[in-house]
Amino acid sequence: MTPMDNDRALAPIDTQLDSLFAAAAEQVAPDPALAGRVLDRVRAYERARTRVMGLAVGVGLSLMALSVVVFSGRWSALMTTLAQSRPGPRLLSWLAESGAVALDPTMLVTLMTPLAVLILWPLLSGSRTA
């Protein structure tokens, strides 16, 4: 028997299977609520994805900022002044008094921008996709 003969012989089974599967599928009632449930999960996935992306960008920018600090020769100055400081809430005021770091706007912007992105991006993008 050639493959063509074989196909012809099995054609009634094909038809029977197709019509039975179609009839069985018709018995399944639509579930309009499913789209809503899926949408909730898709939105949750999008929020999580945006947060992870924001985190990745924040970490990346922080590393870039750190490398700028290190390679611009200010690292040792920063370390020296930090070593002289006392930890705790007085750190910020000390930074303001310390000419090496806080009075340099470029340095401040360089350090603060990635932190701001790190904190604000996930919040803003999360509320946009919700």
Partner: protein, 192 residues
């Protein structure tokens, strides 16, 4: 744009999702295809309605994440069914790991649906097949997947898929060709 009109094709909705991550467009795709996907999953799961709904949700979530991999908007139904089959396989593997717990859940009567005559007849026909033949035929006739899509889903050579399907159909024909043949109970694997 009114999305729920037939003029807006699946391909157009897909493009909207891919370009703008438009969740409303994706919701419309789900609305269009959920019935078909659930019907297909019901054949795989043998009527476990709770499982069908869970797997359908997982299927559409995965579809959203991988929509860029769908090549053809015209064959979106088959693409969804391919994902549904892989989700079913993952569930089946987990079910083997946690077999005892799931057996207990499966015994709960509310988790099963009352089979319709067409499903009963299908079970009767598919009951004579081996698990791999049954799976290939359900993917082909129930899921509408092409032979090459089935080969991808089952990770088998194309020739093997073709012969599984042909052999399965020949077996059904041989088993039910004579009117005196008694009904066979549905015992084939490939289901839940």
């Amino acid at each position: 744009m009114a999305l729920a009109t037939p003029e807006v094709t699946d391909a157009r909705l897909m493009a909207a999702v891919l370009a703008q991550r438009d969740t409303r467009a994706f919701s419309e795709l789900v609305r269009r295809h959920e019935q078909g996907v659930r019907a297909f999953l019901r054949q795989l799961c043998r009527g476990r309605l709770d499982l069908v709904d869970d797997l359908a949700q997982e299927t559409f979530l995965k579809a959203f994440q991988r929509l860029h991999q769908a090549r053809d908007g015209a064959r979106l139904r088959q693409w969804f069914n391919g994902i549904a089959y892989r989700e079913f396989l993952m569930w089946q593997r987990a079910a083997k790991r946690y077999g005892e717990v799931l057996d207990e859940v499966a015994r709960q009567p509310e988790a099963l649906h009352e089979p319709d005559p067409a499903s009963l007849e299908l079970d009767r026909l598919l009951g004579v097949l081996s698990p791999s033949e049954r799976t290939a035929i359900v993917l082909s006739h129930g899921g509408g997947l092409s032979h090459s899509e089935i080969a991808d889903a089952l990770e088998l050579p194309l020739g093997t898929v073709k012969s599984l399907i042909a052999r399965g159909k020949a077996r059904i024909q041989a088993a039910f060709a004579t009117p005196a043949e008694p009904s066979m109970s549905a015992t084939g694997a490939g289901g839940c």
